[in-house]
Amino acid sequence: MLNIIQIISRFKVLLLLLLLQGISLYILFNFNSLHRATYLSTAYEITGSINLRYNNLQSYFNLKAENDKLREQNVLLLNQLKADFQSPENNSNVITDTISADKRKYLYLSSKVISSSVIAQNNFVTLYRGANQGVEIDMGVVGVEGVIGRVVDVSPNMAIVMSLIHRKSSIVAQVKTAGGFGEIVWDGKDPRFVTLIKIAKAIDVKKGDTVVTSPYSDIFPPGQTIGFISDVKTDENTNTYVLKVKTAINFYNIHHAFLVKSLLKGELDSLINKVKKD
């Protein structure tokens, strides 16, 4: 017994090292893959409030550019107003069709971005809007120029978004003009570029084509810009392309984001679960 105590006291520093390494590696390899580290949400609230102070200062430097971006988006939206379109009268009576009234499928919530990382292998964006303000896990996030990512964790007032430049990020996408069914992933190298894989070679793509979210996506509205093809390569082993895509959003410089709430997602999920059970 005495021997054991002697050994322990002799190697206590080494044992402490092994214990601490064990704890950190356990946290790293378990919680990092799930991104649902809810026990960290208090810590995220604290770092979030520090980030917010920094961001309040920093946002002054980008006011002009942000204004320009928002004005451009306003013009785009104004041009889609129904009042701007009018066809010549050709009906004598108007029938109001109550059956085919469109059902709202997506709802946008605005949010301020308080931090965006680009330097790591797993990059996140932090939003100043959380569970108390209606943010849920798995909501899509888009910016003024294009897709940012999806929500992976929420605390009462903050939300953590796994951005496109995260090693485990994967978003279904297609080429705007040619279609196809691919997947956007990141190779961890350059934060300005992502990769579009699994697009069949039969589809005609060229440099400069726009890549948008697929209609099959369950979290993003179809047709949201992801980026522009900057390099076309073919995969030798499979029948698909490997396309280098320049992201539409500049991750160095994001200040506003829109959260996309998919109103039919709950219904869709329960339907899929029902099918799986049967």
Binding site: I27, F31, Y44, S117, I160, G188
Partner: protein
Amino acid sequence: MSNLLKNSLRFALFILIQVFLLDKIPPINEFIVPILYFLFILWLPFNISKTQLLLLGFLFGFVLDIFTKSPGLHASACTLIAYIRPFIIHLLMPKETYETNYIEPSIVSMGFLPYMIYVLILTIMHHFYLILLEWISFGDFVFFIGKLIASTGISMLLILITEMLSPRNIKSRSRFN
């Protein structure tokens, strides 16, 4: 200034500089990642016990992890260099010198060359372990080696600049110029 107060200030300052300054710099190259924060552990006093050093290293790394949202990554790299640090100091200088005359490792207390060797070894250890953990998850050998070399280089440069700017080396300047 008392040692505790000085080191608490350094704790906060190194975290803030890493998170709000170095991590905001657009990377010049995919391999170059400026990392400076671990200098905090290298600057801790000589007389700190090994147990305290390990626990402090873990805490320091974990605080940075919460900011970068990678729980465990920096904490494990920091505990590793906190464990190795006493051995390197023991190798590089005789025990009596640092226990009687000086408080913490610096160019003044250790001499320019031994101090630089001390910094270089721990920087390589830290980066090797940190990038190895990333590599295990994602795998790409060229990326691993390239990032290790480039990041070690840029960290050494940053540490040199910090040493030049730091008020703790005022005496050393007159000695080396």
